[in-house]
Symmetry: C2
Subunit: 234 residues, 2 copies
């Protein structure tokens, strides 16, 4: 039985971390709101009360709903062998996934520092300040941490085979390159293992097919990773 | 064997979500940096490379390290029966825990909207704007969601007994009341079940003893929940 994945139909956003794991593993799923639209998504969310998700993405199967990206990936990891089997490794990659989630939250904060529910245009000077600190302090701190974590693994972050944290690292690198092309070009050489994981994920058969398909939405300025040239740096 | 818990010694912060679960369950632990100081914490973190935590809190046992609050709580939940045994409930409370983590991140962003690594004093007008939107939009949205989730449970969020999400909800309510006393007093009546869970957790024998002990640090303006009267509202 296929999973129903629900996420905003016009952006990669947080849903993309789930899509990538499903696509890489060849797990059957229906990207429901891409077929039915955002209103159908909102109607579906409400239907699951009192165990409704707070926000998409969520996965639905047999009436059960699982939300929060790291939680969904932990579930898929257990059910579909996308996570290591031993406990120490399993908590380790979940920790890395939650750290990726922290980066993603900070990335969103860069273009929406003072009013999450308002437009970027209403907070451009504040965003410029947030971006400067993100580029100079937070970005290298996170990337250095993830680089060291990945460098200590084997061919992949763990286990000699890809897990959900590898597909997530792919998306993180892709997103950061889209959002900060100049800055990332300048510093990418410091993170050879992260770039290697990115390249290996791009070359997985399921991901190669996915990236060429129209299921992969392009990045855009409604998503989490947004390219505003004025927020980039050398 | 006791766990070693490592967290900044002078704040409740994110570490408090772990302390509360340990204290409520009567699990033996050593709050290492309270004894040894913040420098010992930083030295210990580095020792665990390449599987070092990105940031505290983390739990160490037998040389293994688990970091990220929700990950630590999932581990304790599994090992010490602080989580439901059936899978649907287990992913559900982890989802709620991750939603609590999202609130906590947004709370931190209220007083540090544009420069996470700078002082509050350097971003007061921006914080005032972030606080206004948090109070009027995000806070009621999160609390309404959590209220509905809790209202659908039994005596506790799930299972007729407390789990780690209940101790986390206690801390969330306590923190929000400390940070926004006027605002929370004005709206608390809309969240009777959250307040009930807060009161029940406060009355657990382990928590009663903990709150009276000097192990419970007071809230302060170095932590995540900070009381700046100018950020509160009616």
């Amino acid at each position: 039985m296929a999973y129903n994945l629900w996420y905003w139909p016009s952006i990669q956003g947080r849903g993309e971390f789930v899509r990538l794991a499903l696509e890489a593993a060849g797990i059957d799923y229906r990207d429901c709101a891409r077929e039915l639209g955002a209103e159908a998504l909102m109607a579906d969310m409400a239907k699951h009360a009192p165990r409704a998700p707070f926000a998409p993405p969520y996965l639905e199967i047999d009436g059960h709903v699982i939300a929060q990206v790291a939680n969904i990936l932990a579930f898929l990891g257990t059910q579909h062998d996308l996570a290591p089997t031993n406990l120490a490794d399993r908590y380790w990659i979940q920790q890395l996934q939650l750290t990726v989630a922290d980066v993603v939250a900070e990335v969103h904060n860069v273009h929406h520092p003072v009013e999450m529910m308002a437009y970027y245009d209403e907070q451009k000077p504040e965003a410029a300040r947030a971006a400067a600190q993100f580029r100079s302090e937070r970005l290298p701190k996170f990337l250095t941490y993830l680089e060291d974590a990945v460098a200590a693994g084997g061919d992949w972050t763990i286990d000699g085979r890809w897990t959900y944290v590898d597909t997530s690292l792919f998306q993180l690198v892709e997103g950061l390159r889209y959002m900060f092309p100049r800055r990332m070009a300048a510093i990418a050489g410091q993170y050879p293992n992260l770039i290697r994981i990115r390249d290996q994920v791009a070359d997985l058969p399921g991901i190669r097919a996915y990236l060429k398909s129209d299921r992969r939405l392009p990045f855009n300025e409604d998503g989490i990773f947004r390219h505003y040239p004025e927020l980039d740096g050398e």
